[in-house]
Symmetry: C2
Subunit: 438 residues, 2 copies
């Protein structure tokens, strides 16, 4: 019977959608259990607060009346008590009052991970063919969504201070000159310890970026999406103020944060602080997606925020990840410090989970390249840099980069992982050198 | 500063999206706390299993290793152990083996409530202008999503046996004749105790429906979406087999079920059993939405399915809702049995949560009509029937129907709620009669 039927007619969006690159890596990881993974962008499993969650859950469910409320439907925007606590938390991070930021709990939307709110924000702003500006490289799950939505991605180079805002201004000036500025709907930045580079946007750049967005919000208002997922995992120096903190009339910046890195990704909870005009469109869309994220999860998070345990937990995470970051940087210095230093470099992130490694151009880090296979044979997994460059039609992704993470790997395996990786790099580089010499 | 900025440029989808009608009712309910609500499609709060969930959660989190796994990222398709349990559960309901149904756990996708999987299924199949066939009336949250996605809704009349499959066949024949059959992507049916009418599709109609879908799957394969959200709440007679159970080669029917009615809506968990060809497109899309529903929630549900407590809980719900349904039918007979019987009728659902009441045509049940206001004054809330008719451009929604639910209202308030409603109806009818007489 099956063979007589024609295919389902997939929508254009479904046809544009490709599997997340990360699925491939997850499968590789499953197939090679003994591998040291410097790839998976997960948090350190040892930090996941099972006992704390048991206390929170017992407290919530012990009062049967309260417990039942948590098991009933919630609202699309999310639990009011949680949204109030999140606003207070964000204000605390900014060192500003809600009034100074022109915010109330009505600007806070709870979502199923920050991914959901990033996706919905984009979906309410972007039609196929509209332009979304990202960093180069950028967070690949987000850029996968952009491809699916048919956005035209325009990527802006980064340096050690983050997105090159001067380049952004040039690009926007070009759109204005050609009468195309109305197509630019969003600018997306992961501005704290960026995924994948680990780079943090500098203080001056933050102010410049906001000014550029304001200056070019003439045809349409351009939404600046500030993905601050790694903000609370900054371990070195004071974290710079969010871009949002400069948007004191709450008109331009959608600030997106998450519990996935600072507490537990298994909760699947994120949130956004939105300009007034975006709240209703986002909620209408979310109403169609799921009419609200899990009320039980939200009640547990409200208990967490009320308990005072969250800041202590985050402080513990910072100590741990700082040590792991230091271990990775030390291992890179030890095992790759003398490797073709004029063409080899890595970032020194102020926190987060990632280091970005650039190798000599002749070394292909791609999943079909020699190095990836050699690394697998050596027992180490990394994220090929090619996955991290969005679909910008104007440029070709460099093939000589990779993302390394010190998130999941146990602290005492970091050195061994980097040692294996360095061995694979030297092996492939030698072979390539030979090829070149021939 | 604010007033100098132009508006954000919302996407065409955002412009098509309207707030869920139900938000209006929720607000009315909040504003009138003392109201008896025969409107809210929620489950009876007294049944929500807080103590059971506390046991499941303690069991899960007591083993720190297991607990941590539950707090880590999961996969986009959902926890394998849960998907296996759900497949077994569905097979149990069908009284068939997975092999007989050509199914494996790979066909099961876990979602954030059944709404999310309904939305994603539609999103991967439907472009703006494509046709989706629904019942008339239909589930309004779903039809809200259809409007947002730009689908052209073609609604098919129902009778006491559910969707008029003969009419469906005529409609499909028309599309074929006019060369437009390729535009028909999906047929959506809520076939057990439908929301909003409470009607269950009869056994013979189920077989006919599947045959019609197969017969017209010539240009494209048409997906039959079987929303079985209320299946486990059928209380009278044996529930008919699912349409899915006839789709033994697993090619045409996407069966969608939910824990929201049979366990807890606050978990936000639903699932679908999909034809092979739809699994990857749905997962790719869900990857962009949220890369997987809460792993913690899924682990709790896996504990639930393993505990053996679920069938006992559902049996308890059936007893309770049966009594409440009987109370509502008795109250309608008592308070409206003699009210213009030639033009007044209500359904006698075999379970679920809803009764559909049709009044004489001169009585406008709309939210701006006299009756809604009179009912509010009398202290009772219902869902105006107008909310339940999708945006079919070919026809006008009747204005003389309403959805009543015995879900949330306490059993001992059902009679009083219906008494108040009947009073409001008689009051408005008398006035209208007067108007007519003049």
């Amino acid at each position: 019977m099956k063979k007589d039927l024609p295919a389902f007619g997939l929508s254009r969006k479904a046809q544009r959608t490709v599997p997340q690159a990360i699925n491939y890596l997850l499968q590789v990881a499953i197939d090679h259990e003994d591998m040291i993974s410097l790839a998976a962008g997960m948090v350190d499993e040892q930090t996941l607060p099972a006992p704390m969650l048991r206390r929170l859950s017992d407290k919530l469910l012990d009062d049967e009346h309260v417990g039942r409320k948590a098991l009933q439907y919630g609202s699309t925007e999310g639990l009011l008590g949680l949204r109030e606590a999140l606003l207070e938390h964000v204000c605390g991070l900014e060192g500003m009052t809600a009034e100074q930021l022109s915010l109330s709990a009505a600007n806070v939307v709870v979502s199923s991970g920050s991914q959901q709110i990033l996706y919905i924000l984009t979906d309410v702003l972007v039609d196929p063919g509209d332009v979304v500006i990202t960093e180069w490289p950028s967070y690949f799950v987000y850029t996968g969504g952009l491809r699916s939505l048919g956005a035209e991605v325009h990527a802006i180079d980064m340096d050690a201070d983050g997105m090159r805002v001067d380049r952004l201004a040039e690009v926007l000036a070009d759109y204005r000159r050609s009468g195309q500025l109305h197509r630019v709907k969003m600018i997306y930045t992961c501005d704290y310890c960026q995924n994948p580079t680990g780079i943090t946007l500098s203080g001056p750049r933050r102010r410049e970026l906001l000014e550029v967005v304001r200056a070019y919000s003439t045809d349409r208002r351009i939404c600046l999406v500030e993905d601050a997922a790694y903000r609370e995992l900054m371990v070195e120096g004071d974290p710079p103020p969010s871009i949002k903190s400069g948007d004191t009339d709450n008109t331009l910046v959608a600030l997106v944060q998450s519990f996935s890195k600072s507490f537990s990704p298994g909760m699947r909870a994120g949130y956004a602080v939105l300009p007034d005009d975006l709240v209703a469109p986002v909620l209408d869309q979310k109403g169609n997606h799921d009419f609200g994220s899990s009320n039980l999860i939200q009640n547990l998070l409200a208990e967490l925020m009320a308990s005072g345990e969250y800041p202590r937990h985050v402080a513990m995470l910072r100590r741990l990840y700082r040590a792991k970051r230091d271990a990775m940087l030390a291992a890179l210095a030890e095992h790759l410090g003398d490797f073709e230093p004029e063409a080899t470099a890595w970032t020194r992130p102020r926190g987060g989970l990632y280091v970005w490694l650039t190798l000599p151009e002749r070394i292909d880090t791609g999943k079909s390249g020699e190095l990836f296979a050699a690394a697998l044979s050596a027992g180490v997994l990394y994220v090929p840099g090619e996955f991290c460059f969005g679909p910008d039609p104007r440029r070709q992704a460099p093939r000589n980069c990779m993302r390394l993470t010190f998130g999941t790997v146990p602290a005492d395996a970091i050195d061994e992982g980097v040692r294996r990786l360095a061995g694979a790099i030297r092996q492939v580089a030698g072979r390539r050198q030979g090829v070149k010499a021939l």
